[in-house]
């Protein structure tokens, strides 16, 4: 074992456990999830169910193969959380096998082969998302405009089953590009942003999530609230989300100030795509992010910079999954250079000098 991955003694037990932590994160995700299901209707619900079931099944098989207690391993909620995060990052009307393959891949290849919960190098959900995006680019980039539950354009339950489990051909009236994809297309045709963005994007609508996008990434406000609640309950620390968001904000502001026709404004970057979800729920995964606070800041800056670089100059319109997976790969290196201070020692590792007590005491 690498000693750098342990926090140092003395340990104080906070009565926290993996199931409690996972439960809090799931609870914080719940509003955004419900909103996504309402926004995109039955197909989104079906996809969510299939993805979570595939993750639970994969986890059960992995635990059984490893000879561990299936019941305990399933009850810790980590597979459930992985399934939720993966489903939230998928296009809401994707066919069922996208969720099934992705869920099984996330748990078996992303976590099981490394030794189970707590041993994985990469964030399982994001690894699966990268795999799906590379393997099935058509299904993974078919976005649709909001079709809220009970509205006229929403599919009924049976039509929802048809979308998820049957053959469904995307039609132009139903689908629409995400704002990041739209910007990429328009820039590719040498259209200035001042012409192409208005009419397709309003920050207020983007903030409440009334846009096309992945299942659970559109409602920035709800995700932000969930993230702040997690911070308040100390389920996550502030370093990674703040560093990630500030990096994107600074880069986007700088480039937008230099050339507003080529680079989208910082608010658009903050409120579109899955940046909020990534910053609060995905990059903060305690297993795959650095231990030391300084290291977490470096990790967050790396994620933010990669996201901006991929969005602006990369081959894909959105890069949260790639950024997080790449920084996961760099986490052991960050942990090596930014270690937590050992209790009772200086940053250099020497014993702290004992202060002389005054004579009166």
């Amino acid at each position: 074992m690498n000693p750098a991955t342990f926090a140092n003694i003395p340990h104080a037990h906070s009565q926290d456990s993996v199931p409690k932590l996972m439960g809090r994160v799931l609870l914080a995700l719940l509003p955004a999830t419900l909103y996504g299901v309402v926004l995109f209707g039955w197909p989104a619900f079906n996809l969510l169910a299939v993805t979570v079931l595939a993750c639970l099944l994969g986890e059960a098989v992995c635990l059984w193969l490893a000879g561990r207690s299936v019941r305990l391993g399933m009850l810790d909620g980590s597979a459930l959380l992985t399934g939720m995060l993966l489903a939230l990052s998928l296009p809401p009307w994707a066919p069922w096998w996208i969720g099934a393959i992705g869920g099984a891949f996330a748990i078996v290849v992303g976590k099981g082969v490394f030794g189970g919960t707590g041993q994985n190098v990469f964030n399982p959900a994001m690894l699966a998302r990268v795999m799906l995006l590379v393997s099935f680019p058509v299904q993974m980039t078919t976005w649709l405009d909001p079709h809220p539950w009970l509205s006229g354009s929403a599919p009924s339950f049976l039509e929802g089953l048809q979308v998820t489990f049957g053959h469904w051909a995307a039609t132009d009236g139903v689908t629409g590009p995400t704002i990041l994809g739209h910007i990429r297309t328009e820039l590719g045709m040498n259209h200035a942003l001042s012409q192409s963005v208005p009419g397709h994007y309003q920050s207020a609508l983007a903030a409440v999530g009334w846009t096309g996008g992945s299942l659970g990434e559109t409602a920035e406000i709800l995700i932000l609230l969930g993230g702040l609640w997690l911070l308040w309950r100390r389920a996550i620390t502030w370093q990674i989300p703040v560093a990630m968001l500030v990096t994107v904000l600074l880069l986007a502001s700088g480039f937008h100030w230099a050339n507003p026709e080529r680079f989208a404004d910082p608010l658009l970057h903050l409120l579109s795509g899955s940046l909020m979800l990534g910053a609060f729920f995905i990059a903060t995964d305690p297993v795959t992010s650095p231990l030391a606070p300084v290291g977490q800041i470096v990790f967050g800056i790396g994620c933010g910079a990669l996201v901006y670089i991929i969005r602006t100059w990369g081959g894909y319109p959105e890069g949260i999954a790639f950024a997080v997976v790449l920084m996961n790969a760099a986490t052991p290196l960050i942990d090596h250079y930014f270690r937590p201070r050992i209790y009772g020692r200086t940053w250099r590792g020497e014993s702290r000098p004992i202060e002389k007590k005054s004579d009166e005491n």
């Binding site: 290849v109 082969v113 795999m131 590379v134 393997s135 099935f136 680019p137 058509v138």
Partner: protein
């Protein structure tokens, strides 16, 4: 006789080039996108292994130990060049697919490894048996991995086998699912690593001592 049986058992399974020695992984990742490519690459390497082992075993008393590695490489390179030209002449379609990887058999570590570990200190006949066994073991591994990747990646099996083996083997070409949209990852290098990893895990499961 027992000795030869052990040589073949080692080459095909117990000391398999890919699954146990973990050699020859570079061409493995590169060419095994279909079972046919794996078969072609495996047979070409088998030929090189067999002839290299025979030549080196018969010359082993005249090769000074101080310069043996350069001499081995020189001999192997000549044999690979022969194989390269032969495939280009008679199996030109396969040559277009395998292309660069045929000349690269020169630096395939399993060929030099067998020359150094076996052929340079064993009689000719045993070396020939070892080269053949190791080559067939490598072919087995390449075909197995190629088949897994091909089935998962494009839902076919032994596509274009008739180009390699002639029209009479066209029956090998199987299309499992029509209109398969493709699982691109399996045809890219990560798919090779994933399939190899799962096959290694499966082999360990088979070899696990039973309680």
């Amino acid at each position: 006789m027992n000795d030869y049986r052990r040589i073949f058992a080692d080459g095909l399974w117990g000391n398999n080039v890919v699954f146990v020695q973990m050699l020859a992984l570079c061409p493995l990742m590169a060419v095994t996108t279909t079972a046919t490519n794996g078969l072609g690459m495996g047979l070409a390497t088998t030929w090189v292994l067999l002839s290299a082992n025979i030549v080196i075993a018969s010359l082993r008393h005249w090769i000074a130990p101080e310069v043996r590695i350069p001499v081995f490489v020189l001999l192997i390179a000549s044999l690979v060049t022969l194989a390269d030209m032969a495939i280009n002449a008679w199996l030109h379609e396969l040559y277009k697919v395998l292309g660069l990887f045929i000349p690269l058999i020169v630096v395939n570590c399993c060929v030099l490894g067998r020359a150094e570990a076996f052929a340079s200190r064993q009689p000719v006949l045993a070396s020939a048996a070892d080269g053949l066994a190791m080559g067939l073991g490598l072919t087995l591994a390449l075909v197995l991995i190629g088949a897994c990747r091909e089935v998962l990646g494009s839902a076919t099996l032994f596509a274009q086998a008739s180009l390699l083996l002639g029209q009479s083997f066209a029956f090998l070409e199987i299309v499992l699912i029509q209109d398969y949209s493709g699982f691109l990852l399996m045809l890219l290098p990560p798919g090779g690593f994933l399939v190899l990893g799962f096959l290694l895990a499966g082999r360990r499961l088979l070899e696990r001592p039973r309680p």
